[in-house]
């Protein structure tokens, strides 16, 4: 980035010094005097009626100060209103919350949980979404939502999203080749290292303070107000500045409502820390997908038609608006890269008696990308073309309308995939495998994910010493958003980073924001902070104008001084805009006041307008970022074990705000991509999780990822004029391409096309064995 003062540089993450010293305070470290410990009783049944709940024995235990059930909290979250805070008359999956207790110690809370007697009557359960949506489903879990034409859909179908362009039948008729496949993806857990924590303190006026590690503080505020049936002004959500990871599963409300309700009963602070098993079973998971994709192509590789039908396994409920959004946004993974003149897509989200699908890094797009980028290789193979060539032939470019009618802008597919190809030496055969039982090859894939452009607000307070305080309700789950916000203020006021402090999120102080999700933070908070700086400057310049005898419009600021443009000697220090009372005047020793005001605070809101398609149709405002990946790997044909020799990941960040933090996202994305691509899958037996812990559910260890010199990262910039300082959202696109690149390499190496993700060792070994057997 040219002409910047501090943006785009690798400024040190402002939170690192606290984190490496062990001083960093996380929600899990918070305590309050007299604090009680909470535990939740969870359903052991996949689907059952609750006949009775007897809490009398639990309540009788000395030291147990609150016991609540669903009857105490008859609240259903809207959109579509299928999920109570605690089960009402029915449980819908193993792990569903039934009752909760707060006691003086964790041991007492556990005793109380064990003393609650629940009588269940089993109901039929369904675990496969394709069975659940059929006529043959053994049970209907919730009423269906509305589908095409506004009609109520079939069994267990919660959400639908459709998109179409051109004439599909005509497209298929024109095609020289039809390629049809079915792909699946597994259920995964975000598995942040810090479990979900809520420490709630409700006073006798029902004022409630909640310390928690949420990604969406203002949503917690609204929902807890609804659960407690009090006005939102009574709810204050405080998020310690450090959060031990999120990746989606800390969006919306998790344990905060239960902790608050318990605190209101006990009138004492109540801390609820999810166990690791609860993080697996009762926070939201990555929706498993079944994706049917049918493509029509010309002999020369031109795509003429594509239809996609995706079935999302919703699990037992809907996590508020997230259910509909994942169903909708998964489509972005099918429309951001390729020109498809005749297109149709239908996504269905279907209830099953399993944990609830919600926000997960990639937000549906990682799943559709898996299918589309595997399919592109299959097309290339069927046509005898190079996979890179087929991709390049069909790319959308700036100025094209994509199949959802978005006018494409700052398209980064070509530069990222070409750079990835160059660095993996595409076209040059892979070296010989190291193991005598392995085969080796390269694979490539293009990742493209939308980033939501959402609403946010921010405020900047100017302190009497001329330093700046940033107030934003965007939480930092590790990606470094606090650092980037500080950089923007430092940039705008031309001051050192040490002159800027970002305060922790506290809904009593920090202004409204729509949450840390959808790779939205950089763009929305970036703009909100930038606009807040503009408003703060306006106020500063207005105050300085009289003193400098200049027009406010002629002023600028740098290094803590306001000066007349072109005459830097006509200047005033920002701290001199505050009024020091003369010595001896009442209050003189308390510090300077601000004339005619209490604080010098400039606030602003960023509100994106919807986009419009060519016929004026409204479209949610999004941008597209790109991350192409290429891999050189060997796979052991006997064991199915994958060894990555080189993994290249090339990101289009628009213009990066902070190089080191952007590279951090690429690194983390690769770890996430490898984990969800080859290792991680939640498994169940009759709805009972069989690996809800970090031993059996394997996220990558240091031994599961390539060596440092085998990972090659780079960025290619695109010109995204809408972004703050040209930046795009990048947190999720970095995870999208990995699994398809790996599957494509496995196919090239072995001849085996694995269509189920993750590409676990067992799955790959079985696929190779079947393939070998079929060739005999």
């Amino acid at each position: 980035m040219v002409d910047t003062y501090i943006l785009g540089k690798s400024e040190l993450n402002i939170d690192s010094p606290e984190k490496i010293s062990g001083r960093a305070m996380y929600a899990i470290d918070m305590t309050l005097p007299g604090m009680l410990q909470a535990r939740v009783l969870r359903s052991p049944r996949a689907h059952a009626k609750i006949l009775s709940i007897d809490t009398s024995a639990a309540k009788a235990i000395p030291g147990v100060l609150a016991v609540i059930t669903g009857q105490d909290l008859p609240f259903l979250e809207d959109f579509p209103g299928d999920r109570p805070t605690l089960a009402l008359d029915r449980v819908c999956y193993i792990g569903d919350a039934v009752a909760a207790v707060a006691a003086e110690t964790l041991e007492l809370a556990e005793q109380a949980i064990a003393a609650i007697k629940v009588e269940y009557e089993d109901l039929p359960a369904v675990f496969d979404p394709e069975v659940a949506m059929s006529e043959d489903t053994p049970v209907v879990i919730h009423p269906s939502g509305k589908g095409p034409g506004g009609k109520v859909m079939g069994n267990n179908q919660a959400h639908w999203y459709g998109a179409a362009d051109g004439d599909l039948e005509k497209g298929f008729a024109e095609a020289d080749l039809i390629v049809e496949n079915r792909f699946t993806t597994g259920m995964a857990q975000c598995a942040p290292m810090e479990p979900h924590v809520a420490l709630a303190d409700v006073d006798i006026y029902d004022n409630c303070v909640i310390y928690c590690n949420t990604q969406t503080p203002y949503l917690v505020k609204q929902r807890v107000a609804e659960i407690l049936k009090v006005s939102p002004h009574k709810i204050r959500v405080v998020v310690p500045p450090h959060i031990g990871g999120g990746f989606g599963c800390k969006t919306r409300i998790k344990g905060e409502g239960i902790a608050s309700a318990l605190s209101r009963v006990a009138r004492k602070p109540v801390k609820l820390v999810y166990s690791r098993e609860e993080v697996f079973a009762d926070t939201t998971v990555k929706h498993p997908f079944v994706i049917y994709i049918k493509d029509g192509v010309k002999k020369d590789g031109t795509l003429v038609a594509r239809s996609i039908r995706a079935i999302l396994d919703a699990g037992a409920y809907t996590d508020g608006t997230v259910g509909g959004l994942v169903t909708r946004n998964a489509a972005y993974g099918a429309v951001g890269v390729y020109k498809v003149p005749n297109f149709k897509l239908d996504n269905f989200r279907v209830y099953t008696n399993k944990p609830v699908g919600g926000a997960f890094r990639g937000f549906g797009v990682a799943q559709t990308t898996w299918a589309v980028e595997s399919q592109m290789d299959i097309i290339a193979e069927r046509l005898g073309m190079d996979p890179l060539e087929v991709r390049l032939k069909n790319l959308l470019v700036d100025g094209d309308y994509n199949p959802e009618q978005y006018l494409m802008d700052a398209v980064g597919s070509r530069p990222t995939v070409e750079r990835a190809a160059e660095l993996i030496e595409w076209g040059k055969p892979a070296d010989a495998p190291i193991s005598p039982t392995a085969k080796r090859a390269k694979g490539i894939a293009i990742g493209c994910k939308h980033f939501s452009i959402q609403t946010s607000s921010a405020a900047i307070k100017v302190h009497e010493d001329g330093s700046f305080e940033v107030r934003s309700s965007v939480t930092d789950i590790g990606q470094g958003s606090r650092t980037v916000m500080a950089q923007i203020v430092a940039e705008e006021f031309k001051v050192q980073m040490s002159q800027v402090r970002v305060i922790r999120v506290d809904t009593d102080v920090t202004p409204l924001d729509t949450g840390q999700s959808g790779s939205s933070t950089t763009v929305k908070a970036g703009h909100a902070v930038r606009l807040a700086c503009k408003e703060t400057k306006r106020q500063l310049f207005e105050r300085a104008a009289t003193l400098l005898e200049a027009a406010a419009g002629d002023l600028d600021t740098a290094g803590g001084r306001v000066f007349v443009k072109g005459s830097p000697d006509r200047s005033i220090a920002i701290q001199d805009l505050f009024r020091k009372l003369p010595m001896g005047a009442p209050g003189y020793e308390y510090g300077p006041f601000l004339e005619n005001s209490s604080d010098l605070v400039g606030g602003a809101m960023f509100y994106p307008q919807n986009e419009r398609g060519p016929k004026g149709e409204p479209l949610p405002k999004v941008g597209f970022s790109y991350c192409s990946q290429a891999v050189d790997l060997e796979v052991d044909v006997e064991t199915g074990r994958i060894k990555i020799h080189k993994l290249v990941s090339i990101l289009d960040p628009g213009k990066p705000m902070n190089d080191q933090l952007a590279i951090g996202q690429i690194e983390g994305g690769v770890g996430f991509g490898i984990g969800t691509g080859i290792l991680e899958e939640m498994s169940f037996r009759d709805g009972k999780p069989t690996n809800a812990n970090l031993t059996d559910y394997r996220i990558p260890t240091a031994l599961d990822v390539p060596n440092v010199d085998q990972l090659v990262f780079d960025q290619v910039e695109t010109n995204f004029a809408y972004g703050p300082y040209g930046a795009k959202g990048i947190g999720e696109v970095v995870v999208c391409a990995t699994s398809a690149a790996i599957a494509n390499a496995i196919r090239s190496a072995t001849g085996v096309r694995v269509v189920a993700m993750p590409l676990t060792q067992e799955r790959v070994a079985l696929a190779i064995a079947e393939y070998e057997a079929s060739r005999v």
């Binding site: 490496i20 996380y26 031990g244 990871g245 820390v273 690791r276 080191q660 060596n707």
Partner: protein, 157 residues
């Protein structure tokens, strides 16, 4: 219930504590001594966030009984630096911004410290083996491994 007596050297100071015999070392450190730098991640020895050094060797404190610390030397993240001086590993992790959310950092740093004290010039493979019990969800371990390599190359002071 009889309490267990624990006499241990914790971060260089002799301490005497009385704890419930079932209490874990992690609970004693975090709850009784307010040494919250050591983190709780899984309570099952799976994630390594609670790693501390017992007589110089890394242990997952969530799977160790507090009573087992009797007569031992315990080191936590709070004990390896002062307000003025960071441990060389901390310096290097800081310089490379090796962590993102930072929740695994204390355990990771303790495991790395034990490694370098035992094996000052580890191979990359040995580094990866030494921290394989410390899960990081944010970074793919790139900066973490590099930082340990850099400190090993310079020699631990």
């Amino acid at each position: 219930m009889t309490k267990a007596e624990v006499r241990a050297t914790i971060n260089g100071r002799e301490r005497e504590l009385r704890v419930d015999p079932w209490r874990t070392l992690l609970e004693m450190l975090r709850d009784d001594m307010e040494l919250t730098g050591t983190k709780l991640g899984c309570e099952a020895g799976e994630c390594g966030a609670c790693t501390v050094l017992m007589d110089g060797k890394p242990v997952v404190s969530c799977m160790s009984l507090a009573a087992d610390a009797d007569g031992r030397t315990i080191e936590t993240i709070e004990g390896i630096s002062t307000a003025e001086h960071l441990h060389p590993l901390q310096d290097e992790f800081l310089k490379l911004s090796a962590f993102q959310c930072g929740y695994c950092a204390p355990g990771m740093i303790m495991s790395s410290k034990a490694l370098l004290e035992h094996n000052p010039h580890p191979t990359e493979r040995e580094i990866r083996e030494a921290i394989a019990g410390n899960l990081c969800r944010c970074t793919a371990y790139v900066g973490i491994v590099k930082a340990i390599q850099n400190v090993a190359a310079e020699g631990v002071s």
